[in-house]
């Protein structure tokens, strides 16, 4: 569900005097409550799901996934409506410029086109991967230091 569709939904709720409506589509849940003539978006979120590795298996064993700190209420994954940024090369994924630096981005951050999101290192080639559109970062697929394959998913951005 994109922003335009949400706006259209708000208009319909306002026009028809509906008390409230909740729509879930492709992992995005939106609830709109109509109060007088001014409906408000009360809550929207993306249901986080488990990531299944794409493409060929990485040659090096991946680190064990960290234990989930807050299980998502609806674990079924969906990427519809999300813009997926993939790796242009085979290499190792780093979330920061060096071990002492802070991560380039975190889930929930607003990103703009051209913003550096990570580095993929391949044989001492530090390749900066940048956002190719504006949006909000909703998922980071690899762990820091994990090998990634060509075309493997790196980030999901809600544009």
């Amino acid at each position: 569900m994109n922003f335009k569709e949400i706006l259209e939904l708000i208009d319909k709720v306002a026009d028809r005097g509906i008390a409230s409506v909740e729509v879930e589509r492709a992992g995005t849940k939106v609830r709109i409550e109509g109060k007088q003539s001014q409906p408000q978006v009360i809550h929207s979120y993306v249901t986080e799901g488990r990531h299944e590795a794409a493409g060929a298996p990485a040659p090096m064993p991946s680190p064990a996934p960290a234990a989930a700190s807050a299980p998502a209420p609806a674990p079924e994954e969906s990427e519809a409506g999300l813009h997926i940024i993939t790796s242009p090369i085979v290499g190792t994924f780093y979330r920061a410029a060096n071990p002492e630096s802070e991560a380039f981005v975190n889930v929930g951050d607003k990103v703009s086109k051209g913003k550096v999101l990570c580095i993929i290192e391949a044989m001492k080639l530090m390749n900066e991967i940048e956002a190719d559109s504006d949006g909000t970062l909703v998922k980071i697929y690899p762990q820091n230091g994990q090998p990634v394959e060509y075309g493997e998913k790196l980030f999901a951005v809600r544009v």
Binding site: P59, M60, P63, P88, I89, V90, G91, T92, A97, N98, P99, E100, G114, E121, A122, M123, K124, L125, M126, N127, E128, I129, E130, N144, G145, P147
Partner: protein, 254 residues
Amino acid sequence: MIRTRDIIPRLKAIESLAIIPRVASTNLVARRIVNECIENELSLPQAMIVAREQLAGHGRNQRSWSSPPGKGIYATTLVTRTADEMGLMPLNMATIIARYLIDVFGVAAQIKWPNDILAGGRKLAGILIEGRVQEGRAYLAIGTGVNLEPVHDDNRPNATTVSEVASQRYSGVDDAIVAFIEHVDAGLARHDSKQKVLADWRELTVHKPGDAISSTIGERTVAGAWSRIDDHGRAVISTPGGEVAISAGDLITS
């Protein structure tokens, strides 16, 4: 005294050349140029920046690269390639620098994966490439450091210099820089195929099948025997659990 206007007409790939007395880091200057070009939608000049001295030269993981005045070559070359060609540039540059040292100084230069240049098992040159990809084009800043002359109170036991290993063929920093510019230019202008880069690298590497080797990435270590590089340029290590391909990390030989 190096006269860039005398050198430029002889170059085929490099369009612009800057020799600067002192910078923080030639890669830093180059990255600023890359960022300016991308932000303003300008084509990237194929250029080389050479510094006489770096105040903050660095290698992988921000490790300091000693860059005192008049003791080495500190250069960054700006190159544009397709995103597909980018992957083997670290190995390609290693073969270019190794050939430079062999051809000009007669040094028995060898390559330690992926692109450290050794002589007699000690480090002579290093390469660090920083890149950005925009719409299928890779903008690369290829940083290269070559140790030319010993540094007083040098505390790098595993390093050596061209003047120490090249005997009478080394004739000073300026000549070495000019020859470096010309060799890098010629190497980039050749635009070697993937097969040629891999074949050259395999010919020049210090690693032999069966050599004990280990690699550490973060907290993970893979230990075993050197096998080969694969077609991506990754180091393939034979371990008791099977072969493991390494694309990044420090390689430790014993």
